[in-house]
Assembly symmetry: D3
Homo-oligomer: 237 residues x 6
């Protein structure tokens, strides 16, 4: 069922998902400052698995002696997305080609990193879609400590909780609260057919106000299009 | 005639146009901080049609109840370029796939946006060349108000007036004052043949000072090249 | 009457004014990125007089041959505040000691500049309160053109209209829409006595939840305080 | 004993404390990006009490219905310093004059806020020393949620744990790991007398290499100075 | 003679010096990004003594084993100003209270540092005026190497050569080419009396255009003022 | 021999080179803030040839009347990499299609520019790999002066000396000290086979801790793999 939901969500543009959530009163869901570094071909969609870093300090031995990120990676399940709060740290990477190879083997869809990654060239063949602040060749083990996983975190300025969905495309990467994902998928399907209809009208030369959003006067034509796939005769004929 | 001028200007690199204007005493014409987000294949060239936004405020109903941008779009003509001062606003987009589809239908060449756009994936098929500060999935209707169009505006820190030409390539996007466009095109043609000659010399192993700018000693060879397309024998032979 | 309103508004902290406007549904009123450069002693309060700059371009002669700012200064009235959109320009100043001396002579209270000023040392004796992005020793006449005055502008990312009130203190500088200034002043007076009461309770050792916001259980004591100036006996005695 | 340690630490400049910790192998202790906004007169010194915020999201009700910060404030003890990770959030404040009045009543020394504060004018009379990113007139209740207290947090890019000491002066605000505070105080006293001796030599005209760090040749004179307070005769006489 | 020139230059505001140099065709003389951190009371004026840093690298032993800055300090002469290119480095300081105490003893007027300083509190009593990017508690010995002194350097984006004059006030810190300092001082004296006259007119209620710049019609009155110190009777009487 | 070393270094990822140098105690070797603008297909590797710019000032005639960069270009040798300190200057380019065409003719591999380039479209056919801060259509001749070449410089915040190797890929561009290049190449070959083995294990489903870094228990299998190219039977069979 999660697979089906993933598939449905994966067809929803972030613009539509954002609007759908806005209609439900949920607005603070866009992650800022992250770029899609690899995996342009497909939208990112999957359940969030969260990992939180804290700054390293020489007198503090972190959980699992600084290897908590490895323990975390081993728990990943197919279809999940890593979401990492690395504090936006600019001078080191928290994910490279070994962790990503293991994650990919386990069926992970991608990663959203408020920080940097490395071995970028090695990500391509893995099929992962990765959003991050950038790249850096250094590991982070003496600069950041993996501190907790499967807890609520900030990422790109938004709250991400375990169980939320992550959604990413060319416009943005965002979080879809777990319990609202179904509604967003529904809304996405509705919006998709509406947008498709509007686009067809525009390509046929309709003015904006007659095409988008679908005005009262075009409502009947739209219902017919939805039912039959046929455009108004004047366009089709 | 505008079409011919567009065609001629479209062959002029921004570096050359900038230099040509500099020789005419005009220097403040480069737009800063904008990136080419779509339409890499072709240079952007066209007449500027300007749109100015102001910050939204809840107690102020903007012109046309906030729909002035739609009225503006409907007035666009083939070969024009939208130039939008959206105040560099980072957290919302002023142009998406519906407005851009309509603009493309009307024959617009592209857009230069001091702000953000959305539905980036939808721009590709439209054939528009778009420069902007970036992408954001949100619309801007509660953050920015379309205020005026066809007035002088700032865009990327430069003044753009209706009737100016916009010119964009991989190096920059810039404004060419309307009354100087012809001179810039002339200069571009002159520079193109000079640069071509210099490049041929460089590829043939000439030192910089013997190849660019064309020194006195090569002037005769250059004139012959311009007239006949033949390089000096020593290169050609 | 404006003088009385100015006096009343001048006692309202920006935090309170912001909250009062928020209660009226108006939120986009804080100017960002500006610092108080001179005039720390008194809050800034006065009617906005707006001036808009555009980027200079060598082939464009601006209104009044680039001296529109001088024409504007001469129209200023006592109690007003200059609000200038200088596009946040970093490399030149739009206001120095001559313009500010004239403005001060005309009774202006201060200036809010989305850009830079110069002759900072000369501002002190004039008694003006000035918010700006910083200082720069250069004039802006070959970089920016004064374009219009007494029109709606952006300043610090907020919309300012002629007739709005400007309000500034150590926390912020903000706009108070003209028609709401009376309500903000009313709310300020109400909030002032409430905050004063809460502060007295806190200084007497009340826990936060018993002091601010004034809880149900303290409502009667507050009403007595408002009427008589006396605190609850347990505090006063 | 904590009071005595506080008093001793309070005489140690951050430069000296940083060097002392560096000698112990601890380097990642300086908080970056924070400014001293109030309380210039005295150094900040006290035990860290930590509070962590996460981004607000409309579908998530935070701990204590978003009032965890108030519960936290009520637990503060004399001599402590609030250390708040507000994610560096630029557009709202997490601490104003009510919370700070309560904190001051409870004997708190100051606050270190990776975020913004408001009601700045109200902080002065409270005697608190506050480091933060800046001011903003808005509260943060719809933008940030207080999430946890008395847990390890990041602040200004450094790790702060409950029980650590905070130390702040004109150069920096930093963390001193709790178990090393005594050694830092010891080193501070040693360094203070050394630096005082070096400064006296410099003011008497000694060259840098003869004054700081104290060279072999001046070691005996320094020991005498430490024991007796007398400088070498050549300086004193 | 240098002393006299220093005294004369010290009365010239940077705005005037900048304009005077501009009239001589010299424009790239303002240092950007530096703040006056100490010594607000007096303008900075003195001959530039330059020091250049390069990034530290563990396999490179810099000149004088990394102590070239100390050798440099010992060569300073009364009335000079240290000008340091520390590459704008944000995470360490290149000047603290020991070097500054020695520099002050040697009669130096101040420092202009494209980088950071430390021990800020210790600078005050020394009477130095210091411009820098900010403060940091760490020394820079493992991050930057003093590389050369008394060579042309960049500082704040401007070229500074040994022998140039440095001039700083509340508006800016700038370089005055050595051979032009006399002309700048001359122009400063001329401008001072003109500006004083304009200010007196403005304070007497003259409109901007009648007061600044001094218009044709006021030229005679100005000449009288310059000769006698008397304002026009209409103002004076 | 340099050619062989170049070939060997060219197979080493920057992550590996960085780690290898770190093991030798050399850490400050990554250049920050530069992007690969052209030449994605191949790693950059070659000997550094350095060029240093200083800010232009109208009264200073630079070396070779501002044409030192051209003299420098003419000295380039096959296999070298230009490394230019253009002070990160944002508003002009220090390298265009003429200089790059000459450099390419002379056999240069690429360029690393702490500044901007222009004529980006012209770089593609030349086969150069170029890292820079960005593009700008203007030349820099009135903003920056070529000052020295073949001297130690800063570039991207790191020290680069003539004779050092430059190494660039998708993760970073970095400097490899000349005398350590052989060791880095050795280490790269060792790391390559180790990483290859680890990747094969990961792709075969080994957990991270059993695959990378190669644990004790896999050491024998690794040695066999290195000798024979065969994986453990359990994987291979």
């Amino acid at each position: 069922m999660t697979d089906l939901l993933a598939e449905r969500l994966g067809t929803v543009p972030t613009t539509t998902a954002k609007e759908a959530l806005g209609n439900l009163g949920i607005r603070m869901v866009v992650l800022s400052g992250l770029n899609r570094l690899t995996g342009d071909a497909v939208p990112l969609v999957g359940r969030a698995r969260t990992l939180r870093y804290l700054p390293f300090r020489e007198d503090v031995e972190g959980p699992a002696s600084g290897r908590l990120n490895r323990q975390f990676i081993e728990t990943l399940q197919p279809g999940e997305v890593l979401v990492i709060d690395a504090l936006g740290y600019p001078d080191a990477a928290v994910m490279g080609d070994m962790l990503s190879a293991r994650a990919a083997y386990l069926g992970v869809k991608g990663a959203v990193v408020d920080g940097r990654i490395r071995d970028l060239a090695g990500f391509g063949p893995l099929g992962l879609t990765v959003y991050a602040r950038g790249v850096h060749p250094d590991p982070s083990s003496r600069l950041l400590m993996p501190w907790q996983f499967d807890v609520p975190i900030q990422c790109g300025g938004a709250l991400v909780q375990p169980g939320d969905w992550m959604l990413g495309d060319a416009d943005a990467v965002m979080v879809v609260p777990g319990h609202l994902a179904g509604q967003v998928a529904d809304r996405g399907e509705e919006a998709a057919v509406r947008d498709e209809f509007s686009q067809k009208l525009l390509h046929a030369g309709y003015a904006l106000d007659r095409a988008f959003p679908i005005p009262e006067e075009m409502q009947e034509a739209f219902e017919r299009y939805r039912a039959t796939g046929h455009l108004p005769e004047s366009l089709d004929g």
